[in-house]
Symmetry: C2
Subunit: 161 residues, 2 copies
């Protein structure tokens, strides 16, 4: 569904929907263990420091990324909903303990995983407060960035024991 | 604890802490039934229309207030956490289904209820994204407004069967 025909609220969303060639169980592990998460979370050669990872509703989820050129990206946030091996929701609008945040990019992401022949259907729905924020996210390279990370996640999960 | 001696994050909070002379059970009912909520939710003679009330994490919570002078106040939001008869958390930073909002006043409110001799200890902790938003909320009459509503809630709960 494209931006023009979607229900009004969904017009502020960016969606990635892919078949990932790795088992759901391994993708879930790679997502929910911070030691594993940091291996694929941001496009290489950038690196991720996981500053907080409390996997429960209202729990702190804070990543900090560093690039080889000295650039950084600080991303405090909060987990909202966790359905093991199926669904994970987090936001930049709040931080741990439900505290309001002042995000440089306001969004909520819903990640869903479902078994499919050949691997796992992986859907990332990223919802924004308004169309302008959605456009800004797209222009900053949302699809390129998130797809790169999902490809890294796929490769990383495939080699998990 | 005042703004200067509180931990850094709490400096963005506004807190009301009162003994309310009504049983906890009745206060909880008055809070969690939208037909009852609208009777005390905003300072009279303003009236409340409850446009959405889905009492579950991620559920829509939307009130719309109207004043006798034609003024209105539209307040979409989202429930975050519900612990029956003890604790209720909601925010204006998100709306139903965890969608990011563009609130005119960004906050998360944590309401806690505890039995106490003579009634119920009622604490409303209202957290803001930054000190400027906290100040703006205070200047717009937060303490006067919320305390008026809590007094209305107290009187309303007292007369519940």
């Amino acid at each position: 569904m494209n931006a023009k025909t979607a229900p009004a609220a969904e017009r502020n969303d960016l969606v990635i929907d892919r078949l990932v060639r790795a088992p759901r169980e391994k993708l879930w592990r790679a997502w929910t263990d911070p030691v594993l998460l940091k291996e694929w979370w941001c496009p290489k050669p950038w690196t991720t420091e996981v500053r907080a990872f409390e996997l429960r509703p209202g729990g702190d989820f804070h990543t900090f990324m560093s690039g080889p050129d000295g650039g950084t990206s600080d991303n405090p946030g909060c987990f909202l909903e966790i359905e093991p091996r199926q669904r994970l929701v987090f936001t930049s609008m709040l931080t741990g303990g439900w505290r309001p945040n002042t995000p440089w990019m306001g969004f909520t992401a819903i990640i869903t995983l479902a078994d499919e022949l050949g691997g796992t259907r992986y859907v990332a729905r990223v919802m924004h407060p308004d169309a302008a924020t959605r456009e800004r996210h797209a222009e900053l390279g949302f699809f390129d960035g998130w797809n790169t990370c999902i490809t890294q996640l796929e490769a990383f999960a495939q080699q998990l024991p």
